[in-house]
Symmetry: D2
Subunit: 282 residues, 4 copies
């Protein structure tokens, strides 16, 4: 499959949105050469953001991963997660009471505020649930899958409330050959069983791209077609970027393997503007 | 909603298939009056079987529940479970090697045989899985949902094998107001994530009705329209019975409540031949 | 079901988004009293837009329906259709060549531009299709369903291209008791058969609400929670408005009937901020 | 991909079920060599049936295609179509009144009987529909797709009745490179819009295999694992045969191309017992 030079492509744009996993990092750590890429973007006055379907950690904690490996360019304010959209929704819609969540204590920071109290699903009793005003799926860790998924199902059958899923992915990679169920996969199962409609945040949904676009506009006026979306997954990064009116780069450093890229593009009908091996600029 | 007398209806048939939960028993135990119903069927020489989407216990153990409460008519040979179909499939398709399963040791009896060894998913190591020839979803208990569901997903990504789901239900009742995820719901989530096609056994699939019909035919020749299917659920018992060519009774003693029956029939388009309050004959 | 006064509610907001069918008009024509509502909004300096999943007619033609009945407040620039988003996408993504469409000549105005030529699917020959760069589903009229749907399927199997659906609805009302398949329903069938991923525009997708929000912001700064979304359908208007951070009114003058509203809200988990009989202010 | 000899495989079985399209015939006519195969089966006393998801023509008309080309072995009584199951269902469930259908006059023979009158959907008036007791999807020809699909949708919204789909396929081949929407695809669209549950007959559903198995048993006792199912499609022929307990052959003479077979098997998890180039025995 013939690929193009990321360096030459990116010079045509004023801002870049990066997916994280498969583009900037993988199971071994950071993908080689990304520090040079971000230096190159800074030198050429090209703005950048990381868009991630991850509500398990705060932007500060996510940024720390890059900083600890010397990529100081990726600061917390450049990381936009689906958890931040979930937070915005909860704060605007729920004015008082308790928000229950599936996830770790750490992930719960996304929904904490002065007005709301938060409650891990593992600490909820179905005998005392009238104060619960909303439920958020944040992370696949921090609760007992058997006990607490069943508890969630009964909570939603007994009381009507807004339900938010802060990560649309159904699985995520944990090592070279292994994956794990993501909280989005658990949410799909619960939604099927209770028959209600959940509100999901994360790529490929337009709201994620709009959130990033608004950040870009705070600094300077830029048209959508002056922004490049870079991702390794056709069904989230590329279709979402295309639909929002961005140009798109499919990189082959993540879950779309070089020998499958053409077949996947042809069979899905999701067509990136460009294909690059990776975001290395040399 | 006007209902009819089960006694008068059943006299027109030569055999009856009963769903178990919501028809013969509920969260409180046996539904009142069923002993009289089975005595009445025996007196009138009407044959009967219980068809259940349950692979957690053997027919012997399931029969024990009725026997312990004095309903001696329901013997193990009258109970036909989706687990028995799963067993038949495994024995005919897998000639040697190991069959891995999700479920309790108790449920594993469905797949035991002289030729095959069985292995609980919780005892499987992904480093040593070449001997596994098939996987069966039997019961929602007996394994760690978090660790072992993830293990199953990676097993199926790494090796291609037949996968059998021995219960098509996504949830089951555990008390008056509470339900729990059934193994069929877990199987749906795994199937979505791995993108493979599983083989499912249980109502409303025709194979379950065919299995029961063959039992009936072993004793005497009966046409399908001489058999009555009795159930509390439109989407499994009634549509399955209708499609197989049986006449069907919807009873209102289980998950279809009297004040919702008409709405559910009209909105689903699944039309039972008759509607009865319960199977009580007096 | 207890409902609230639209007049009192709307006074708390700075802008209102209205769904068209079931809110402003129905099969008999305009819903009584809407002229007074728009006069009231003008008097109180409340901005308003109509958001419609309709790509069969231009905003000018859609406005004409209201104007001809004396509601001069609803001008073309206040009507935002999913067709306008489809147009924006096509113009940004397709730089030259032909865009094929399903729909009337009238609906094709949405995709016309100086750079692109448009071609009705009924005039396309599969022997000469190399110039076709994209396909748009615009309207359910203007082509032969049998011949031309089959032609579309083979076009998409033979060539990979961007496919846009300019209306997410699967059906629309044509009289008091009758509905018709909308172009979104036809697109679903084609997508299932060809196995590709189409790009859809229309409520409940966030892009539709963002488009309207940008219009509002052109005039003055307004926060999202200062905008009210009014609709008759939980699954498009209400869930879309909620997710975008707007407050929402479910009106009972369209496809959610008064005696079903509570049941539909409870079973779907889609909860409007308010429920009103209609948008009448007196 | 290494394939095996059909001749050697088939000698191990007492009966064979053949899919028609892609196995016995294709867009050019009969697949070369099939006459020799059927002579070979007769010589070796191996029984055979053709199982087809086709309700557009009667078994007599379908047999005529083979007979006209010299394959006299395939007689009408050896052809089992999904239309025959639909007929059986209708005759057992509908005792009087009118059965409406989508299809040609020719396809309607499947539902004709002394007790029932049949009515093409194109001749139905919604003003006079009280006599209609059931609806059957038979063939994609014989009606106006636009007018009559809309008429069907309104019929099903206005009256509750049994709905039967006599062909589960969503598309079928019409030439080397072209396909057309099958009646099963139209039924899927209608089912989505009206929200009701239709009854479908055809592979991979077990009822189709059971129907054929009963034919085999009329002649002599045979176990299921003594029967071979031969097909070109993993998702209908192979998974259906596997589940019913038959051994299965995937042939590469139809819609599974030789260079894709391994990939399709690995990604679907549907594993045929054998793979052969075609059913040629020499």
């Amino acid at each position: 499959m013939e690929t193009q030079s990321f360096r030459e492509i990116v010079l045509q744009y004023k801002a870049v949105f990066f997916d994280a996993f498969g583009v900037l990092k993988n199971h071994k750590g950071l993908i080689p050469g990304i520090k040079e890429t971000f230096e190159f973007l800074d030198e050429n006055d090209i703005d950048y953001y990381v868009l991630t379907n991850d509500a398990s950690r705060s932007p500060e904690q996510l940024a720390q991963i890059y900083q600890a490996r010397g990529v100081y360019e990726i600061t917390a304010d450049r990381i936009l997660s689906s958890g931040m959209l979930a937070r915005e929704f909860i704060l605007s819609k729920i004015k008082s009471g308790t928000v229950a969540y599936l996830g770790t204590k750490n992930s719960a920071h996304y929904i904490e505020s002065q007005e709301l109290s938060t409650l891990s699903i593992k600490d909820l009793s179905l005998q005392n649930m009238d104060h619960v005003k909303a439920l958020v799926f944040l992370d696949d860790e921090g609760f007992d899958w058997n006990l607490d998924i069943n508890k969630v199902i009964n909570l939603l059958r007994l009381r009507n409330m807004s339900v938010v899923v802060a990560n649309t992915d159904v699985a995520y990679p944990v090592s070279k050959h292994e994956i794990a169920v993501a909280i989005g996969g658990i949410a799909d199962m619960v939604e099927e069983i209770v028959g209600k409609k959940f509100i999901r945040f994360g790529k490929p949904d337009a709201q994620m791209f709009m959130f990033a676009y608004e950040k870009v506009l705070e600094k300077r006026p830029i048209r959508r077609d002056e922004i490049l979306m870079v991702g390794d997954t056709l069904f989230t990064d590329i279709i979402g970027g295309n639909k929002f009116g961005l140009d798109t780069v499919l990189v082959l450093s993540g879950n779309t393997l070089p020998d499958q890229a053409r077949l996947k593009i042809d069979s899905s009908g999701i067509i990136p503007t460009y294909i690059c091996d990776s975001i290395q600029i040399s």
